[in-house]
């Protein structure tokens, strides 16, 4: 494992649509500044944005941790519940429990989780109902 070049944590508030996406925007700017390849920066930014919106829309809040090493980048996300009862179902394209309100804002297509998996080189999700959800994404640099 290489030396850590950067480690940052970004809190995400539940239900706060006005600031949703700000953490991902910060992450994107940080990675750009580090001089990481723009195609990789975009993949990380998309995955970060999807997971951040999920925390805002579906969770009770949590945080996203960014760890950048010379040849690997990790985005570890934790939330405080409510957890996902059927993770396999949630991972399917088109599955969504989002409200009509959320849909009129342009989200709730059920594309977020599959899109994260597609963008990351490594993806894992663990969820316990009543406890919370952990998502770990890894990107080769």
């Amino acid at each position: 494992m290489g030396a850590i070049t950067l480690k940052e944590s970004y809190p995400v508030e539940a239900g706060d649509f006005s600031t949703a996406g700000e953490a991902s925007g910060k992450i994107k700017r940080v990675l750009k500044k580090l001089g990481i390849d723009s195609a990789i920066v975009r993949r990380v930014a998309v995955a970060a944005y999807e997971v951040e919106l999920n925390l805002v829309i579906h969770s009770m809040g949590g945080h996203m941790d960014l760890i950048v090493e010379p040849d690997y980048l990790q985005l570890n996300v934790h939330d405080r519940g409510p957890g996902i009862p059927d993770v396999d179902l949630a991972m399917r394209e088109g599955y969504s429990t989002a409200s009509d309100d959320v849909r009129t804002m342009g989200f709730g297509a059920g594309m977020g989780l599959p899109n994260m998996r597609r963008n990351a080189n490594d993806f894992s999700i663990r969820s316990t109902v009543g406890v919370g959800t952990d998502i770990e994404m890894g990107f080769k640099l």
Binding site: F17, S18, A20, G21, S24, G25, K28, S38, A39, R42, A45, V46, A48, Y49, E50, L89, R92, E93, G94, Y95, M105, G106, F107, G108, A109, G110, M111, G112, P114, N115, R118, N119
Partner: protein, 127 residues
């Protein structure tokens, strides 16, 4: 296709920024930001009827050069401020999403190849 040509084909009105010099290579028309996020393309114009701040945040993530609001919709000053912060150029067109996309497509602006590996065009079962 140049942004200038897009402005002409769409009888558009420039709402913010200066038309970019660089060629636009691809386009996406949608009101669903999560669909837009699923198929990122290079040097893209986004056509949409959605006029909230999340459009600009989505565009930031995808490095979208130009946003076109359809059906004569003019976004509020808060949304334009979000675009300005991110150096995104914004125009409006009187045409519907369907017609605006059709005008660009039939004049040679392709949908573009997704930078994501071969997923667009697969069947997706709704749940």
């Amino acid at each position: 296709m140049t942004a200038q040509r897009i402005l002409e084909l769409l009888d558009g009105r420039l709402l913010l920024g200066e038309l970019p010099e660089e060629e636009i290579h691809s386009a996406c028309g949608s009101d669903m930001m999560s669909d837009v996020l699923a198929f990122p393309k290079e040097r893209m114009v986004l056509l949409t009827g959605l006029t909230n701040a999340h459009v600009m945040r989505t565009c930031e993530m995808l490095d979208v050069l130009l946003v076109v609001f359809v059906r004569g919709k003019i976004p509020g000053p808060d949304v334009l401020a979000e675009a300005e912060k991110r150096d995104i150029v914004v125009m409006a067109t009187p045409y519907t999403l369907y017609e605006a996309c059709g005008r660009l497509y039939s004049n040679g602006l392709p949908s573009g190849v997704s930078t994501q590996e071969g997923r667009c065009g697969e069947w997706v079962q709704s749940h």
